[in-house]
Symmetry: C2
DNA sequence: TAGTTGAGTGAACAGACGTTCACTCAACGG
DNA sequence: CCGTTGAGTGAACGTCTGTTCACTCAACTA
């Protein structure tokens, strides 16, 4: 139990506290037409954001339900109305992180269908997405290795899906015609692993984004130029 | 504060409890000639091992001084005789992990001075070391992204040192003659990043070691064959 | 041999923890 | 319009947390 003095690197992104139930004593006339479901969703969001912010100073396994509740401005028991446990909350965060990430990847596939554009077209999009969803990426980077087993497993699975998707995309692009399908998978894995590492660095040190990106571009070029000259030894 | 039910994957490695101070009531005749310093060192080791074992089920920031003390078989206050805080204990663990790792790397440099042997010579040595020091690697993998800031920083620094060492080794080997020195650094970084990822996988799923290694070898070959065909565009 | 040192003890503290329970009372649906 | 529902309350519980303090008593040193 190490106590952190908040030194988070990325997001100002204020956490919306939910004013408890004085939702009716409207001071103004009538701008808060808020259904029951809307209020619930708002609190849920606030809990997710609060957990994301608190975990940023250590990690999911080190924060407490009570801290989250306090940050949201709600009594501890209210937490249970939304999540059965911190672990389930973690799974929800994984879900939402990758939902956003997958949308971004659709952009990448669309903007860089040609191999020649692959690096220059994709990296900036990824970098921008990391910048804009910094806290989610930080969460994934941490919990991928240090999270509760179920959370780790969920993240591992999502990354595996993305790797498979990239593999079929490489195969379809015809850029690696002489590769066996297994080796296309390995190449995709190599690329995804590299991008994961790069994303971790962007999150850890956002100020050096420009340099990190320039280096990553060179490295990706080394990797791809090399890999494309490579020849599978196995069979399809 | 998520409570883990111990599901650690790797080490049986029992934690030596230190019997408190009945060190004198020897039941047998005289086999425990143990100096004061020796006893202190033994307790220190037991604390390090206990922390390593406990952190394996979650992470450093989530364990408590009292848990460690209980596991060691010592009263909580005794902890302070050895470490000022859990964070300092973490730094000690980083230190000891990398001391061992550096010794292993000397072996690698020695056994694979020729480029042709690089992959086949190095990977098995690394894999063996990961297998034998599983809990240390797991610790590094977790705390590298999720540890307290000072611990993260220490790990990042150690990895950077190793990368630099590899870079000078690549330069000396002459395998990348047409590379600028900066690009040799980037290549070294690429390789180290990949090996870190591979080590994480070996730790996460030790049962698939054989397959993981085979895949890694192919990927490293893709990477290197490619990279060696690559040509720096910048200047030295 | 007498005196110092320091690893480990054990009690005590104030606060935070997860979880339970009975409750309120505004929004909802028939 | 009136009964149901369910998000949020607040008190209470037993347990665990980090840290303090004065202490013991074996190993060391002079």
């Amino acid at each position: 139990m190490i106590h952190r003095t908040s030194v988070h690197t990325c997001p100002p992104k204020a956490v919306e506290a939910v004013p408890y139930d004085r939702a009716m004593q409207e001071t103004a006339e009538a701008d808060d037409g808020e259904s029951r479901a809307e209020r619930k969703e708002r609190t849920r969001r606030a809990i997710l954001d609060a957990a994301l912010a608190l975990a940023a100073d250590s990690n999911l396994a080190a924060i407490s339900l009570r801290q989250v509740a306090k940050q949201v401005g709600v009594v501890p028991t209210a937490f249970y109305r939304h999540f059965g446990s911190l672990e389930l909350l973690g799974l929800a965060l994984v879900d939402e992180s990758f939902r956003s990430l997958r949308l971004m990847l659709l952009d990448v596939w669309r903007h860089a269908p040609e191999y020649r554009d692959f690096i220059d077209g994709s990296l900036p999009i990824v970098a921008q997405h990391v910048r804009e969803n910094c806290s989610h990426y930080a969460f994934i980077a941490r919990e991928r290795t240090a999270g509760p087993p179920r959370v780790r497993e969920a993240i591992r699975h999502e990354i595996e899906l993305i790797t498979r998707e990239l593999a079929t995309d490489i195969a379809r692009s015809g850029a690696a015609e002489h590769y066996s399908s297994k080796d296309i998978g390995l190449l995709a894995d190599l690329i995804v692993s590299f991008v994961v590492t790069m994303a971790e660095r962007l999150v850890e040190d956002p100020d050096s984004e420009e340099r990190t990106l320039a280096d990553a571009r060179t490295q990706l070029r080394m990797l791809l130029v090399g890999a494309l000259g490579w020849r599978s030894t196995g069979r399809t």
